[in-house]
Amino acid sequence: MGNKKFSIIQHICQFSNRVTIGALLCLVSTGFLAGAASADNQTPEQAIKTFLETVRSMEFPASDPVRHAELVREANAYLDVETMGSQALVDHLAQISSEEKDMFFDLLWKLIEAVAYPKNKNLMNTEQIVYGEPIPSEGGFQVPVSLKTEDPEAPVTSMSYHLTEKEGHWKIDDVVLDDVSIIEDLKYQFNKIIAESQFSGLLEKMRERLAKAEAENKNEKA
């Protein structure tokens, strides 16, 4: 008898467990999707689209500096350069001073504005952009993006943007091309320069590159 009672209780427990797990799963997924749309009421896909459209609207060099600064600020709002840079510099962060760190991020932001934005714009000016479905990944989402030309024979460039929510905004913290993260590529480069000429050498190279990019952007107008 005691066994029968135990068996009923066991069944009840099993049923209640299943319900609980089901309920929990529903809650999590609903929460996640709700969360995906929660930042600025945008989905990750929309965030990427807005970012890329903003970059596409930029002019290099800017004919209207006020408008250009506005666009840059808008685009910057979608980037998490601190995360990107910190991860790329992970092997050296402990050894550098806070001033150096500030200098590094300042230069990195400026380089993104002077080098990465023109490159992104050039890339998109000739391509048709197809956005894929966001895939949950590492606390955020991966948004696949394909860049196609009108020529069906021409190769398709496929990239994947990783976004995480930060302070109520979707921010791009990684760009993956051919299965390799931009963080890995930047890390390879930073490590190589630091090994050759210390952290100060890296800052020097960044300054040189910035000066060169600014000169190039000016020349483009000429």
Partner: protein, 812 residues
């Protein structure tokens, strides 16, 4: 020795039977003509060694079994790649059918090699290739990522298969294709069956190849320019031989012209040139006939014979003609002139002839066929020169003067030169000073062992360098002939291990047939398939690369799926290079680290090969072995032959002059001349080499000739001083020396640096002989003569009287 008398009876005989003597000479000449015509030049190094020499026997065995050991490279060029490729393919197929071609390697169109090319790389190189491909992908990915910020000036990586290391160096040798600035080059590597030094067969093969190429050009009917060029050791050596032959022809003509000019100036009559050249021409025919009957052919050394004979024979003819002319003008009677001439120069010419022929016969002791044949033929040639000149020149004069008597037979009163007192001492002092300087230079003599420095740098050599740079291998290997493949593999491994453990070795690498079968094939195939996967996965990225890189990767992909290559997959032509037609032979080739044209390298290479502990049934063969044997024999026998010649000459001189003091005076100019020659050589930075050493016996002969004529004349003119004696022989010595100097000067115009160096050394040698005979010897004799027997007080100056107005030593 019974004293030979050339005077009255001989002269009467010649005068009386001149016509008959000429008829006999002509008859013998006509009889000799067919034999002389049959004489061929064997321009083959193998003919310089006795046929039973092990290196020759082994070389013949190697040729019979697997063909020659070196290579002929055919380069086909066109601005259009396809045209060059098609022509090379057809050419390779056609040449394969030639009986004189052992094997043809045009591996660029041979799938067994082309698709398995990467298997011949080391495993480490394939790993490097994988990293290379990865680098290209990474670099371009970074560039394509719009967020990447290039901070470094990173050079674009490339995929360079050619720079990777081959597992076996022997794999470098083979047909290849290469893109030049304006044209596409396709190289086909050919192994002829005959030895490289058999230039006659090479010449036939080259002609067949050019004919075949012309046919292919017609078949292709392409409007694109298409050219073919030959190179490689077979062609370079052949070209060198042809350059030498051409140089000898050109310089020979120049030499004849120069000598004729000297004689026109010296004799002031064409008649004299006729009297001298006709007998010399006859001597050439007689000697050629003798060489044809006794030896059958001329080799590369005895080929120089005619220059020597011309040089020596002309000396006899000049001395005879001058003396005849002098006495004819003096007496007005040819009969008397012949008598006096025979009495005056008959014996010196005979002694000179005996000395020279003995010197040449001494060379016959050498086991080096080059010297032996040369010694025998030249020795007989000199004796024949004596006979033809001593009987032919007066007979010719008798006959010609009988029908076409020369005008103006009056004797020339001669020229008198006053030399101030003290000049003899000054001359002697200068001579002694230069002799002391020359003596100090004996141990500073430089010897250039490198034959490469003697070659003419023509287009063939430059093309060869381009091709050799591609291979990075010296293409003149030696070969070990073993009895089977297993033994060959074992020996090749043993030698390669020896190379690894001996850093100073002269060997580069060794190869057996199995060296052409790659090692670790399964591992390599796996690694290559990984590269293929990598490329496959990154197709999207690769399609964004520049077309050149895409083409490179496409070409690479075509080689990334090789099948295992077994020994049975190797082309027949390649297998035949190692194993011929049968299973009872398998050859191991050992390649030298440096060019064996450097004699020192060749000797070290072969000595080291012979020191290897190989089994008794393994034989060593190849061109380097023969080449080194020749050099070793040359080095061994040249001093021996020179010393023996010298002693034989001394013996002859003793027989002639009887007294040691006289022999000393005859030898003094030649010994001093050798010393001065060394002084001149050292002062000008000149280097001896294997080629110019061959003229040293001629310098010895010429120096002794001068000494004999001058001293004989001085000895026979009792009561006269040496300068008076020179009055009779000076012109002869002067003309004979000038003709020899002119002959060697003409060689300075040769394109071949070796021939030109012979000219330079000859110039130094004969000038030294001339100066020591005409200046030093008289000066030193005069010096002792004055001390021994004071001359009359009235003799304040020395007088030199010469019948020649042309000599620069004499002034009117």
């Amino acid at each position: 020795m019974k004293k030979l008398n050339f005077s009255v009876p001989q002269a009467q005989f010649v005068y009386r039977y001149a016509g008959w003597i000429l008829a006999a000479i002509l008859l013998i000449t006509f009889a000799a003509l067919p034999y002389a015509k049959r004489l061929k030049l064997h321009a083959n190094f193998m003919d310089l060694l006795p046929a039973k020499t092990p290196s020759i026997v082994n070389m013949k065995a190697l040729n019979n079994q697997v063909g020659g050991s070196s290579y002929l490279i055919v380069v086909i060029e066109s601005p259009v790649e396809e045209t060059a490729r098609l022509a090379a393919e057809r050419f390779a197929r056609q040449v394969q059918t030639f009986p004189s071609v052992g094997s043809v390697d045009n591996r660029t169109s041979f799938p067994a090699f082309e698709h398995r090319k990467l298997l011949f790389l080391t495993y480490e190189s394939i790993e490097k290739l994988r990293r290379n491909v990865q680098d290209v992908i990474d670099y371009n990915r970074r560039k394509n990522n719009p967020f990447f910020i290039e901070l470094m000036e990173e050079a674009a990586p490339s995929i360079d298969i050619e720079s990777l290391t081959l597992e076996e160096k022997v794999s470098r040798i083979g047909g290849f294709s290469s893109k030049g600035k304006d044209s596409f080059m396709q190289a086909v590597v050919i192994k002829p069956r005959h030895p490289m030094s058999d230039f006659d067969r090479s010449e036939v093969l080259f002609k067949e190849m050019y004919d075949a190429f012309d046919e292919i050009k017609k078949e292709l009917a392409s409007s694109d320019p298409l050219i073919m060029a030959l190179t490689g050791p077979y062609k370079v050596r052949y070209d060198e031989y042809k350059t030498i032959v051409r140089d000898l022809r050109v310089t020979g003509t120049l030499c004849i012209v120069l000598i004729a000019l000297i004689m026109i100036v010296g004799f002031r009559s064409f008649r004299s040139i006729f009297y001298i050249y006709v007998p010399l021409g006859i001597v050439m025919f007689w000697t050629s006939a003798f060489a044809s009957i006794a030896i059958g052919y001329l080799n590369l050394i005895s080929g120089l014979l005619f220059a020597i004979l011309l040089g020596m024979g002309i000396d006899y003819a000049i001395h005879l003609r001058i003396t005849l002319e002098h006495h004819l003008k003096e007496s007005g009677s040819l009969k008397t002139a012949i008598e006096k001439t025979y009495a005056e120069v008959g014996r010196p010419i005979l002694t000179s002839c005996l000395a020279a022929s003995t010197a040449f016969f001494s060379m016959a002791i050498s086991s080096f066929e080059g010297f032996r044949h040369f010694g025998i033929i030249a020795g007989v040639g000199i004796l024949l020169s004596f006979i033809v000149v001593i009987y032919g020149v007066p007979s010719l004069m008798v006959v010609v003067e009988r029908y076409f008597p020369a005008k103006n037979q009056k004797s020339n009163p001669g020229l008198k030169v006053e030399i101030p007192r003290g000049v003899t001492g000054a001359i002697l002092s200068l001579c002694i000073l230069f002799s002391i300087y020359s003596f100090t230079q004996i141990f500073r003599i430089k010897f250039d062992y490198n034959f490469a420095n003697l070659q003419a740098r023509d287009e063939g050599i430059k093309l060869a360098e381009r091709v050799y740079n591609h291979f990075g291998v010296e293409l003149t290997p030696a070969a070990f002939i073993t009895l089977n493949r297993a033994r060959a593999v074992e020996l090749a491994e043993q030698i390669n291990h020896y190379i690894q453990t001996h850093s100073e070795t002269s060997f580069d690498f060794s190869a057996s047939i199995m060296s052409h079968v790659p090692q670790k094939q399964p591992e390599k195939i796996l690694l290559l398939s990984q590269i293929d996967d990598l490329i496959e996965r990154r197709q999207a990225l690769i399609s964004t690369l520049d077309p050149k890189m895409q083409e490179q990767i496409k070409n690479l992909r075509s080689k990334l799926k090789p099948k295992t290559l077994g020994v049975n997959d190797l082309p027949k032509g390649l297998t035949q290079q190692y194993e011929g037609q049968g299973p009872d032979v398998s050859v191991v080739f050992v390649f030298p680290r440096e060019c064996i044209l450097d004699g020192q390298v060749a000797k070290r290479f072969v000595t080291e090969l012979r020191s290897l502990p190989v089994a008794r049934d393994v034989t060593l063969a190849g061109e380097p072995v023969i080449y080194a044997d020749i050099l070793m024999l040359l080095e061994r026998d040249t001093p021996r032959a020179l010393v023996l010649s010298f002693f034989m000459v001394i013996l002859i001189l003793f027989m002639h002059f009887k007294r040691p003091a006289h022999v000393f005076w005859v030898l003094l100019p030649v010994v001093t001349a050798f010393l001065w020659m060394i002084g001149m050589v050292s002062a000008t930075g000149f280097k001896f080499n294997y080629m110019n050493m061959a003229i040293l016996p001629s310098v010895l002969g010429a120096g002794i000739d001068n000494g004999i004529y001058i001293y004989h004349s001085y000895k026979n003119k009792q009561g006269q001083n040496i300068f008076d004696a020179l009055r009779n022989t000076g012109k002869g010595v002067l003309l004979a020396s000038l003709t020899a100097i002119a002959a060697f000067t003409s060689l300075l115009f040769a394109r071949h640096a070796g021939i030109a160096s012979i000219g330079k050394l000859g110039f130094f040698g004969f000038t030294s002989c001339f100066l020591t005979s005409i200046i030093f010897l008289p000066a030193i004799i005069q010096f002792f003569e004055t001390r021994r027997k004071p001359l009359q007080a009235s003799r304040d100056s020395l007088a030199i009287v010469s019948s020649s107005k042309s000599s620069s030593l004499y002034k009117t």
